[in-house]
Subunit: 462 residues, 2 copies
């Protein structure tokens, strides 16, 4: 069929991207214009991380000429957005921003340096300017900051036919293309109910919205966190959630396509925090920024390491007598660290998806402690057996095996418990448990592990 | 306004849940019936993890009586679903399943033991039976397995008015409540195009769908992974994606509310895999199952630990002379492990969100290597300085500080590189990089770290 393009989504189309990259580098602009016309903005955005700086500039220029830069800009990663804004004339940047929805403009402006933001804000005009300034007033990562101020709301007395008529006249700039709900408000713009486009289609033309709408509906406040918004939309299977201010007026909506981005972003953040990389922007190519984000988190581990130096230094005489003791430090530390990471990851993730809350502290603590005890027993027997059978350690008979078996058992039990307690404690005091985990848990476990090991050694071997 | 319930989503309403739990345990059924009638199924599902087994049974019975069990079942976690199915008469289970959409029934059946599944399948009747058997044929976690077979498709010649008329007659059982798209097919049910309800409302009644529809649309094949489906829906901001079979026929749709669940599930899996807990079901309360899922992954770490015993055992004579060497094992291992985890988490996550692909191997390898070198230099200087100034190690003058500084520098550089290479390699050979990381990376790094440390010690100290 003529003009039909049923695109079956491919996971990664590396070959196509390589071709495009070559065309850009060869400045084959006529071909590129054709390709750009047929390519989704989200796919165009994926070319950028492969391009050299000069090639990026040419593509920016080409996209501006083709009136596609606004759409593409929404899809770029932070590093590429910054490059675009720094390299392009402010007037041109603003002309691109004028083609974009206010919530996307706001998201972009809140990610760039303060000075640049002010400069651009002064140049933005009309409704966009007003909307963006409003959205920028809300704290980052709240419902207010991520909502779209372009919703579709009508008074309660409107009839279905009138509503349909009004939808007919809307353009994609008035409301997001995926609008699915019609909100019903009173004369003060207070939210009264909601109905879906489908309900509108399914009813008699004369019916007033008032008798069509559901007045049992879920909303969020402007100052709620984007995580809370995401959880509500996911839990209640909504396509959009209305955002209300402190006096119940409808001020915006958050649509599910933005929620999908929020969920991805929050998950990335959680994983990076747990790995101790702070607020690292993983799209950044700067080695210096990468280093700076990771350095402080390694300090916790470093401090723990120095403490371990001190603890082991304490047992220098014993080590001189039985140097074999040193050989078991890595396995005892490693096993503790790994089981602790397992426990803390399970707890952090369970808290994040709402599976575990503070109420469950004793239950999960008992589960992790018991698991630690079972796994500790298993690996204690294995390590003791190994130490007993390894020819080099024969001279210590049953004593060294006993010490290492007990040490790994106790350490794994403690590690699983510490890996549970730390994130639960952080949750209780309202600190993000993901931050707590990673470096903190492993460092605590390392030091405790070394200490109990040498304690047992002292008890049985000397 | 009478009967209005604007619900502002609360993050966690612990107090309410506690009250409900008490009511169930006190068997205050009339009160509970009232509460159930007013509560969303997703919220009812959240009561279960707090309930004792007897209380769970009473709530199951109550929900069946109130005709809410089907809705709630869709929202329960795997452990609670299993409890319901094991405790309830198969005939009752099936009557509940008959009230549910086919895709949800399929999801539930594919998670329970084979024998029970067969028993229930034999009891299921009518269209549900047919649909479920079809969906069960697809491999787990593919587009075919997660799609809903209830989509809304019409022939190309249908007019907008006829389409609107047909939508009017649909019930929520025919198509999902969040239906937003109308698919257009030819006489062989091959997908030809799509239009939105909004377009339908915005057009003249006599227009045929053929001239309204977009024929530029995104689809997925039945055998594509749910991750690919999720990425497509997220990337192109779709509310649903049509699923086609090998000859281009429309066989189902995957809606965005299911995609949100897929994204959460995939993220949980990635995090757990990276922490080395395999396919652990974090909702399970069984200590035994918990232990069994985690045990094998710890083996990698254990084997690495034994190798370290061997390596260090090799240097026993040196250790007897300079016992202080042992004191630095934990800090050198710990810092390597942490920086390696940082790198591998960054890489695994970058791959998962499509930020990094095989093409970028050299670029990210260089970034991580350089970051490792910079961080290694920093902590090398710090550790060397500490060793030089710590009174206990005075006797070794500059030699011990030099050894530990060099060891931590080289180890951190190698660790960052290994943490990058391992997931990139797994990606290249099409193994999930998340599995590769965690235990494998830390174990490799531990052993390499110990080895280089003692190599430097041997070189400068003896």
């Amino acid at each position: 069929m003529e003009g039909q393009t049923i695109i079956t989504t491919q996971d990664v189309d590396e070959l196509f991207i390589s071709t495009v990259v070559r065309l850009i580098q060869r400045r084959a602009f006529p071909n590129l214009r054709n390709i750009i016309a047929k390519t989704h903005s989200a796919d165009i955005a994926r070319w950028f991380p492969r391009l050299r700086p000069e090639a990026k500039s040419s593509l920016f220029t080409l996209l501006i000429e083709e009136n596609r830069m606004g759409e593409v800009l929404c899809e770029l990663n932070a590093a590429d957005i910054n490059e675009f804004i720094e390299e392009t004339e402010p007037a041109t940047v603003v002309s691109v921003l004028h083609t974009m929805p206010a919530d996307d403009v706001t998201r972009i402006l809140s990610d760039i340096p303060e000075e640049k933001k002010e400069e651009l804000l002064n140049l933005i005009e009309g409704a966009t300017s007003e909307h963006v300034e409003q959205l920028l007033e809300y704290e980052e990562k709240t419902a207010g900051a991520i909502m779209s101020p372009n919703y579709f709301a009508l008074p309660q007395e409107t009839t279905a036919a009138e509503a349909t008529e009004m939808i007919r006249d809307l353009t994609e700039i008035d409301i997001p293309p995926i609008t699915f709900y019609v909100y019903v408000v009173d004369e003060e713009n207070k939210l009264k109910g909601v109905l879906s486009l489908r309900q509108l289609v399914q009813t008699k033309p004369g019916t007033p919205l008032k008798s069509l709408m559901t007045s049992h509906l879920y909303t969020v406040h402007t100052d709620m966190s984007q995580e809370t918004v995401a959880r509500a939309v996911a839990r209640y299977n909504l396509l959009a959630i209305p955002v209300i201010n402190s006096i119940g007026q409808l001020v915006g909506i958050v649509t599910i396509d933005d929620i999908v981005d929020v969920i991805r972003e929050e998950n990335t953040e959680d994983m990076l925090k747990m790995a101790g990389t702070g607020d690292l922007d993983i799209t950044s190519r700067s080695i210096f920024r990468n280093t700076r984000a990771r350095l402080p988190w390694l300090l916790a581990s470093f401090a723990g390491g120095l403490l371990a130096v001190y603890v082991i230094g304490f047992f220098e005489t014993q080590l001189k007598q039985i140097a074999a003791l040193a050989a078991f430090i890595p396995v005892i530390m490693g096993m503790g660290g790994n089981i602790g990471t397992q426990s803390s990851t399970i707890i952090v993730r369970s808290i994040a998806i709402g599976e575990v809350s503070i109420k469950d502290t004793w239950r999960v603590l008992w589960r992790e402690f018991s698991t630690g005890a079972l796994l500790g027993t298993t690996y204690g027997v294995l390590l003791g057996g190994f130490a007993y059978l390894f020819p080099q350690f024969r001279e210590y008979a049953w004593k060294l095996p006993l010490v290492v078996a007990l040490a790994i058992f106790v350490n794994m039990m403690i590690a699983a418990t510490v890996g549970t307690v730390i994130p639960m404690f952080f949750k209780r005091v309202n600190i993000d448990p993901a931050v707590a985990t990673g470096p903190f848990v492993t460092t605590a476990i390392d030091v405790i592990g070394i200490f109990t090991y040498f304690l047992f050694a002292n008890l049985f071997l000397f």
